[in-house]
């Protein structure tokens, strides 16, 4: 399906969504310190704070050699990565440090940088400038080999407690180790369902197939701890009171996903990196009743799954199924049941009979994703694990009473038969 202009979120359209955020929540987007305090209060992981400078007087009490290595020195309310110093190493027994670009830095340099931050050189808003020293998050080993220098971060757009789109921002030689698209970092779109990367862009528009520094393929990288990444983003949005926002996360090799900052006005390039329109996704999520972060993530996985044509299976040819195939569905104890199905391409989403759903133990609030308008009225949509031929996947199915009376208990819609050929001789 090609993307229409009405599926794409522009600046004017974004205003409608950012306007839904409360005045209270917007304050978190302007202050990293405030965000940190909040996250700490709710036990949501974030980089540890070592010190806050309120005034130049604090410089008299700080002993730089005591700061745990490695650390980051940055303004509390900067934007676009301005004024962030990443200090990676300290030279033994001497008061000299090495930053992420290999530059040598002494105590005077550190003091001067704190002075400049407090004078407001890097702040976009406000007049109460503060400087922070915090723990530097190292790259996860899976992502470290892709990036040059700094730590890659993950941006997740959350709306109505549902993660709707995500990308990884990967530093390059050109971006000087910074995960900032304006400075030449690479953006990679991520499939919401699996956490596997899909497309890559460079310089906010140019599509790329491989990373410029490592020459590795952009597609098919599995982001570690994907479910936790999404859940952490949603939890952070909920505690800060954001209806629409972008969460930036690092993935710590041991501690897992951590929030770096929350952004009340997330950028729009994420759509190019995912080759998908954000507005369409926001419209599909608006008004859904989401119980908690786990539920929100479940909805996202069901709604925004990309169609993968599994490259490893291309050699075996496209599997053929009959128009009345036998498929396997899994009950709540993950035991398979063989069921007669019918392919009905007039449907988009597959349907399951209500009685079968009850038998499988999936007809309860835990499995409910959302409710959808059908001929029978507002019916539930539930998560079902399905196996067609050798292809096993999770999908969302509409629960319909009409199918209680038919021979086939499942109708397969267009969405779930993609990648199969339909014919008489199986």
């Amino acid at each position: 399906m090609s993307i229409k202009p009405s599926h794409i979120l522009g600046h004017n359209g974004r205003y409608r969504y950012t306007a839904l955020n409360s005045r209270e929540s917007k304050k978190f987007g302007f202050s990293k310190l405030r965000t940190k305090e909040l996250l700490k209060q709710y036990n949501i992981p974030t980089a540890e704070l070592y010190h806050v400078f309120d005034s130049p007087d604090d410089l008299e009490i700080i002993n730089w050699t005591n700061v745990p290595m490695p650390f980051v020195l940055k303004p509390a309310s900067g934007s676009a990565g301005k004024g962030i110093w990443v200090i990676e190493k300290k030279i033994e027994d001497r008061a000299i440090w090495i930053d992420s670009q290999g530059k040598r830095i002494n105590e005077d340099d550190l003091n001067l940088h704190v002075h400049n931050i407090l004078d407001g050189e890097f702040s976009t808003w406000g007049s109460n400038h503060k400087a922070l020293i915090e723990e530097m998050i190292p790259s996860h080993s899976k992502l470290a080999k892709l990036s040059y220098g700094g730590t890659p971060d993950i941006r997740v757009i959350v709306f109505n407690s549902v993660p709707v789109m995500a990308m990884a921002r990967i530093p390059t030689k050109k971006s000087g180790g910074k995960a900032n698209l304006d400075q030449g970092a690479i953006a990679v779109g991520i499939d919401m369902s699996t956490g596997i990367t899909t497309h890559g862009i460079y310089g906010k528009k140019k599509t790329i197939e491989t990373f410029p520094d490592s020459k590795r393929k952009v597609r098919g990288i599995m982001i570690p701890e994907w479910t936790k990444v999404l859940e952490t983003a949603v939890k952070a949005a909920n505690v800060a009171g954001y209806k629409y926002m972008g969460a930036d996360l690092f993935i710590h090799p041991e501690k897992g996903p951590m929030i770096v900052e929350l952004n009340g006005y997330p950028g729009l390039s994420i759509q190019i990196a995912n080759d998908a329109g954000l507005k369409k996704r926001l419209e599909r999520v608006e008004g859904l009743e989401v119980r908690n972060a786990q539920h929100g993530v479940k909805i996202a996985r069901a709604l925004f799954a990309e169609v993968f044509i599994d490259e490893s299976k291309i050699g075996e040819g496209t599997p053929i199924i009959s128009y009345r195939p036998s498929v396997q569905v899994y009950d709540d104890k993950r035991k398979p049941h063989t069921i007669d199905a019918l392919i009905n391409t007039s449907r988009y989403r597959s349907a399951i009979s209500q009685e079968l759903a009850e038998e499988l133990g999936h007809y309860d609030i835990e499995d409910l994703l959302w409710r959808q308008q059908e001929i029978e009225g507002k019916v539930p949509v539930i998560e079902i694990e399905l196996k067609i031929k050798n292809h096993r996947f999770k999908t969302a199915m509409v629960v319909i009473k009409r199918l209680n009376r038919t021979l086939h208990k499942i109708e397969l819609g267009r969405r779930d038969v993609q990648g199969f050929l339909v014919g008489d001789n199986e």
């Binding site: 794409i8 600046h11 676009a80 407001g120 528009k205 190019i272």
Partner: protein
Amino acid sequence: MKKFLLSLAVFLIAGLFIIQPSQAQTSPLLTENIEIGTEATDSGEATPEGTLASPSAETIQKIQEQKDQDITQAEGEQKSKLVRYLEENPLENKNFTNLLQQSIRNAVEEGVPPNVIVLVLLFPLIASFIAASRHIIGLRGFGIYIPAVLSIALVSTGIIEGIAMFLVIVLVALPAKKILTRFKLPYLPRTAILLWFVSLAILGMLLLAPLINMVTLMTVNIFSIMILVLLAENFLDAQARTKPLNAIALTIETIGLALLSSFLLQWENLQKFALLQPELLIVFTFSINFIVGKFVGLRFAEYFRFRSLMEEE
């Protein structure tokens, strides 16, 4: 509390400097002096004519011509032209729909310069023009304030001279900023030295202007210069934040918007319309912004930006 007392003390000391001379001025002669003083700063060119050796008659005439073309000048030909226009088009039936126009006529008769009234009326129109080009076309520029004010500065300095001056400021400020990072100075003194470089560059231009006979530069007023410095500061800031090419694009967009706006400001029919139909103009500027603000579709530039999404694979 300590901080508050400190700022109060600074305020009081500053206050003393202002109050002291005015308390001493009981004689009317001194007050008169002060008035003359303020007038002289408003039009910086008055001093060289009076105190220094008198410039050649040719230059004086050129300067006068320059003032006559400049709508921002309070004593130029533009002003009397607008006054004449008002006189040529008298208001026939006075009623409550043209109350504003009646008051403008009264004010002009009492001596309020009509060119200033026109500029004040057209300024929100310029701002709306910039807002609309952002919201519908997608031109970015440095916010709305900088291009709007820059357009008035360009009207005053002349387009080529204004841009030339901006380029000189940037060409001085860019290397100066590079050199200054080596000294490892704190932010504020560092910025002050940057302004020192910029001011010297402008001084150099002013000193050069008579030698190369650039009359517009000779009549330039201080506010236009300050606005150009402000633009240069925005450019340097954008340079630090994004790619150099992006900073240049932003600056060119800003200047482009300011140029188009300055053409609008100088359009004589529009000036006359502002004087004869101020009520219509005010309602129009308000409602056009309302309509533009309600537009939620993609901007023209965004069709271009997201074209890869819309292409069929």
